[in-house]
């Protein structure tokens, strides 16, 4: 306990340096500090509690094994987030290969579906408390295909550029742009429909 208290007083940089020298207690403190964020990212992509737990823990194991490669170009948590994203993408690709694609997915990939969606002119998130807004975003993310959800997460939450997203998702920049466009339009329409549901008696 005393050891944990001692470690919790250190910043990430010092903990990373200790962990790089093989101090597993320092690494444990890093895990404790950032596990929620890493798990949340895994869950936002995998949409399954069990899978998110497994992938996030695998990410920590990989993080430990590759810790010597971490040079501090980004923050430690950003570095770990990239690891968990890559693991999620690998996992989702494997799953996609095993599953038959839905008709909706095929239509989305063929393009043009977003053109049938009306433009949302009134902000459906106006006046919402942050907690409620987050809950609605989560609900909407759940209704997107993994490609559209992922591109939205990587762009809006991880703030990656088109080029970087294309590299990670192993597709062209054009595909990233059209997926992102569809995902945003669908997100706007879903948020608007949640608002309508709320207002309807």
């Amino acid at each position: 306990m005393a050891l944990q208290q001692n470690k919790s007083a250190l910043n990430d940089e010092k903990l990373v340096r200790s962990a790089q020298r093989g101090d597993m207690d320092a690494f444990e403190e890093l895990v404790a500090r950032h596990r929620d964020k890493i798990y949340a990212r895994a869950f936002s992509m995998m949409r399954s509690e069990d899978e998110a737990l497994d992938v996030s823990q695998e990410a920590w194991v990989k993080g430990w094994q590759r810790l010597k490669q971490f040079q501090g170009e980004s923050s430690f948590v950003t570095w770990m987030t990239r690891i968990v994203i890559n693991l999620c993408l690998d996992q989702l690709r494997k799953q996609k290969r095993q599953k038959a694609e839905s008709i909706e997915q095929l239509a989305e990939d063929a393009g043009g579906v977003e053109r049938q969606m009306p433009v949302v002119t009134t902000n459906p998130t106006e006046g919402l408390e942050r907690r409620e807004l987050r809950a609605r975003i989560d609900r909407a993310l759940n209704q997107l295909s993994y490609e559209h959800r992922t591109v939205l997460i990587l762009h809006e939450f991880e703030e990656l550029e088109y080029k970087e997203i294309a590299k990670r998702m192993q597709c062209s920049i054009g595909t990233v742009m059209s997926r992102l466009f569809y995902a945003r339009r669908r997100m706007a329409n879903l948020l608007a429909s949640f608002k309508r549901d709320e207002l309807s008696p």
Partner: protein, 176 residues
């Protein structure tokens, strides 16, 4: 609005366009109400999402979550110590400059030997044919360092011994 325009509009809002393209899109947007409405919707979604990543907590205790990670880390076989690559890395590092140096040395030796020939007393050794870019002209050069002379002969190609006549098939190809 064309699909390419929609994507360009999105790229503009994301700051992914060059300055010139961004100016063009901004001008177009200022005149097109449809583009303005779409841009407003895209901006709204972007703003709603920014910083509102759903927050979740690991549904397990700190100790339990860590124990699984620790078990995997400890059960993993220790990384195979690589055979000391020190000399190999050092050798690779110098391989390119060393080979370049060797190539330069070989060329220098070759040139020195060639210079020795050109400086020889036998002037006919200085006769050499150089590549001619025209099929109608043949050229020969003569250089002597001791005499400080460089001569180029240019002669019509038909003085060169005739080649074997082209076959009928080859003539056809030439005609084509």
């Amino acid at each position: 609005m064309k699909p390419e325009q929609e994507l360009e509009l999105q790229a503009y809002l994301d700051g992914e366009l060059s300055e010139r393209a961004a100016r063009r899109v901004a001008d177009w947007m200022a005149m097109d109400p449809e583009a303005q409405a779409l841009a407003a919707e895209l901006r709204m979604t972007k703003t709603a999402l920014a910083g509102n990543d759903p927050e979740l907590a690991v549904p397990e205790s700190r100790d339990f979550y860590w124990s699984k990670i620790r078990r995997v880390i400890e059960s993993a076989p220790p990384a195979e110590p690589n055979p000391d690559p020190g000399w190999l890395v050092a050798w690779r590092k110098y391989l390119v400059p060393l080979s370049s140096l060797a190539l330069v040395a070989i060329l220098a030796i070759g040139i020195a030997r060639f210079s020795g020939i050109t400086g020889s007393r036998d002037p006919w050794m200085n006769l050499t044919e150089v590549e001619s870019l025209s099929e109608h002209i043949a050229s020969h050069t003569f250089r002597s360092r001791s005499e400080n002379v460089f001569v180029v002969w240019i002669s019509p190609q038909d003085q060169v011994p005739e080649e074997t006549p082209a076959t009928e098939e080859e003539d056809d190809i030439v005609i084509q």
